[in-house]
């Protein structure tokens, strides 16, 4: 464990797998931007299409200003710094006829259009699949509606945490004696983003056979994949599954136990999971307590599970004497699965995170070096870590109009003047 947080800048990678692919990213909130940043790291050129007034001038959660550069708080918004990495920024007004015309010109030069509006919005813009595919038969149009593009809930609105509730996952998540809880902060969004990235690459693979196509990723249906065994299981057993917190359905000890404060943090814990007799015996080689070893209530896996409340209390009494990092190492060496309960702060100090660069640094012009996690796989021949920090607002509007679309200086000036496009943040 490093005493200080460390951030190693991500290396450049010239051989990313989606090099040459261009994505028009119309997404907002969390799910769509996650899909787009994954595609960006994989090598796609992602143009984040933002409305000219998209960002608040004084965001509530602005990151610290680096000092020696212009102070533009809208370029330091924490959420965007997290979610817009590996992209470029183009400001277009799709409610403006000329803005839509520019977008359709971009479609001709793109491979993927990605959006997560309510189902009716693209139609209101006049940018349905038929229109896009007429301009570019190879285009892949990925939509990420909350409930799907059909069905009685089609026009309901929801964000990710609301879908967690509708999927059953919130109902299932919680303490054994408690109410439903969220399964994470934006869990459904992250899950939908990953599914959409998977589906997009699959559609690219099949493009040589079927040209472009639509891809519909309903956030709800993506999340239902993750609790399929609960849905199938309740039909088989006739019983509703219950909230079990950190417990295992048949093994003990299996929980989270308090420890000595580590790195000055009173909220310090260790997770220990003994799934079989071997792992229990491994725990006992470190937890050298004869009264536990000889206690008949803990003699078999079934007995330990039946008496888990007593066992957990004994274990809590023991773990709270130790540092969670040192104790985890001792338990792992003995063969018992254990881990300190890490957090973002401790992960930035962790030797495994540093060795694998699970979280690396991206250089932002107004914020400086900023952390960004990378996807959980490493490709041996075509590495694909995050490639650039969140772009400054509209920084790429003019270069894209000029170089990608070949517009004249006069036309660009007209588009900026009319408000169809923008090279800076505007008032609505």
């Amino acid at each position: 464990m490093s005493p200080e947080s460390q951030l190693i800048p991500y290396p450049d990678s010239p051989r990313r797998p989606l090099t040459g692919i261009r994505v028009l990213d119309l997404t907002t909130a969390v799910a769509g931007p996650v899909a787009a940043l994954l595609l960006g790291a994989l090598g796609a050129e992602v143009l984040r299409i933002e409305t000219p007034w998209a960002r608040p001038r004084q965001p509530a959660s602005a990151l610290p200003h680096r000092g020696e550069v212009p102070d533009e708080p809208w370029n330091r918004e924490a959420r965007l710094n997290e979610l817009a990495n590996s992209k470029r920024s183009v400001a277009l007004n799709l409610t403006h006829e000329e803005g839509r015309a520019v977008f359709l010109d971009l479609v001709e030069h793109a491979d993927v259009v990605l959006e997560n509006y309510s189902p009716r919005v693209m139609g209101n813009f006049g940018l349905e699949w038929d229109v896009l595919s007429e301009r570019n038969p190879q285009i892949i149009y990925v939509a990420m509606p909350a409930f799907g593009k059909s069905g009685p809930w089609r026009d309901r609105i929801s964000y990710g945490p609301g879908i967690d509730a509708m999927s059953g996952l919130s109902w299932l998540t919680g303490y054994t004696d408690g109410s439903p809880l969220k399964p994470g902060n934006f869990y459904c969004d992250q899950n939908a983003g990953l599914h959409a990235a998977v589906a997009t690459v699959a559609a690219l693979i099949s493009r040589c056979q079927v040209a472009g196509q639509t891809v519909e990723l309903a956030m709800l249906e993506g999340e239902l994949q993750l609790i399929g065994e609960a849905m199938v299981g309740q039909q088989l057993s006739g019983r509703e599954p219950t909230r079990i917190g950190n417990e295992h359905s048949s093994a003990a000890p299996h929980g989270v136990y308090p420890t000595q404060p580590a790195l000055g943090d009173a909220d310090s814990w260790i997770a220990i999971a003994c799934r079989n007799d071997d792992e229990w015996q491994a725990l006992l080689t470190v937890w050298q307590d004869e009264s536990v070893r000889s206690d008949r209530r803990f003699a078999t896996g079934l007995r330990r599970w039946r008496h888990r409340a007593i066992l957990d209390q004994r274990l809590r009494d023991w773990t709270q004497k130790f540092n969670p990092f040192a104790l985890s190492e001792r338990l792992q060496e003995a063969g018992a699965p254990a881990s300190p309960v890490m957090g973002a702060r401790t992960l930035l100090r962790d030797e495994q995170v540093l060795a694998r660069q699970s979280v690396g640094g991206l250089q932002h012009p107004q914020v400086g070096l900023s952390p960004a996690p990378q996807a959980a796989f490493r490709l041996s021949e075509t590495p694909a870590p995050p490639k650039n920090a969140s772009p400054l607002f509209a920084a790429d509007t003019v270069p894209v109009l000029r170089e990608m679309l070949g517009y004249s200086e006069e036309r660009i000036a007209h588009l900026l003047e009319s408000g169809a496009a923008s090279d800076r943040l505007r008032e609505r």
Binding site: A165, T173, E240, S339, L348
Partner: protein
């Protein structure tokens, strides 16, 4: 080009062959995604069957190697070969199979790789176009690469455990095997990227703890710039820095719970919904999280006298994104017919008798399709291995 008939269109991965060695839901979900998108996925199982088969619930609570809920969900539309990899002959057979394989998924305990002849570099050197996807708790490199991991300890190792639960209690993870399933998703993205890159066979080295660390997203900004950890926040969103949003929370109502989502927007509509003019006053919803307890109190009277379906109906009419907290049985029962109208639940034959409703497509393609099927019987495809004479020899030797 017109839309293809979805009944006859192939999956986007039609023609891709995958061999899956999975002991956990991470590899199994990676395989399910590839199978659903049209790849031919064959599970390679030990004689006792994959451990996934032993995960319940089971019909009538009777353990059944063919009828566990996780197997019936995650292993649909896969084949199964029963093979003794501990034997040299079994390892040779695997190597033979890999000659016609595009992707090998390895998700078995690293301590048994050697005894089972699992050697990702060796496989790749003998089969130049083979993509080898390993899924392990901490990845194959780094000081913790030999550490053991379970769903719970990896939740802890990836930092996602810390933000779940009540602030004055121990942190808790989400239900099920979300960490392993997320790792399966990452692995699938890595495999597809390798297939698309067409740069020769690749090693796709997936670490389960990293799939959880990825979920922390903005938490790293908070930690890097303020050197502090956010505290879990019960049913409310965890705030990273000063930008707490409210309400995005689960609240009790007359007959259950609803998810209330407003996040400092729609103050007038909120005041109408709850018949509480205070909710529209400047400084309440516009003050981030500062009045969360008061907002809860203002919502409570209406919630406690109104059924959740009615609460959500009224909120949605006002374009406030509230939803019901549904139990699994209610999701399957589908009272509004939403899933039925989309053909989501798939009637699937149970291996013993009757049918069950299984989740359908994760994604819907316009010109290719998602394909579902049944979970395979253990070793159901052994008959397609080798010649009849070889099969007799392997059976006698206890290999296959």
């Amino acid at each position: 080009m017109t839309e293809r008939d979805p009944e006859i269109a192939p999956g986007p991965l039609d023609g891709v062959s995958v061999v899956e060695l999975s002991e956990t839901s991470a590899g199994a979900y990676c395989g399910r995604l590839l199978a659903g998108m049209g790849a031919a996925v064959t599970m390679l199982e030990p004689h006792t069957g994959s451990p996934i088969r032993r995960s319940g619930p089971f019909r009538d609570d009777t353990p059944d190697i063919e009828g566990g809920a996780t197997h019936l969900h995650l292993n649909r539309r896969k084949g199964s070969l029963r093979l003794r990899l501990e034997s040299r002959a079994g390892q040779r057979l695997l190597d033979q199979l890999l000659g016609d394989t595009d992707v090998l998924i390895i998700d078995i305990d690293r301590r048994r790789w050697s005894a089972n002849g699992i050697d990702p570099d060796g496989f790749r050197s003998r089969h130049g176009q083979l993509h080898v996807c390993t899924i392990s708790p901490y990845g194959t490199q780094g000081p913790k690469s030999q550490w053991l991991g379970s769903e719970l300890t990896l939740y802890a190792a990836g930092g996602y455990l810390r933000i779940g639960g009540e602030p004055d209690r121990e942190p808790i993870k989400a239900w099920g095997e979300q960490g392993h399933l997320q790792a399966g998703l990452h692995a699938a993205l890595g495999v597809l990227s390798a297939l698309y890159a067409n740069a020769g066979g690749q090693h796709v080295d997936t670490a389960i703890y990293e799939a959880l660390a990825f979920l922390l997203g903005g938490g790293y900004q908070h930690a890097w710039f303020s050197d502090s950890e956010p505290l879990r926040n019960g049913a409310r969103l965890v705030g990273f820095g000063p930008g707490h949003l409210y309400p995005s929370t689960i609240r009790p109502c007359m007959d259950g719970w609803i998810h209330a989502h407003c996040n400092n927007r729609y103050p007038e509509a909120m005041a109408v919904l709850f018949e509480q003019p205070r909710l529209a006053e400047a400084g309440l919803l516009s003050t981030l999280m500062g009045h969360a307890d008061e907002v809860d109190e203002l919502m409570a009277p209406m919630l406690m006298r109104t059924p959740r379906r009615e609460v959500v109906k009224r909120a949605q009419e006002l374009r406030i994104p509230f939803t019901e907290v549904l139990a699994p049985s209610e999701v399957v029962a589908d009272a509004d017919g939403h899933h039925e109208s989309r053909g989501f639940w798939q009637s699937t034959p149970h291996p013993r008798d009757g049918e069950y409703q299984a989740p359908g497509p994760a994604v819907r393609f316009g010109r290719t399709r998602w394909i579902d099927g049944s979970a395979p019987g253990l070793g159901q495809d052994n008959g397609r291995l080798g010649t009849p004479a070889e099969r007799v020899r392997w059976r006698r030797a206890g290999v296959a």
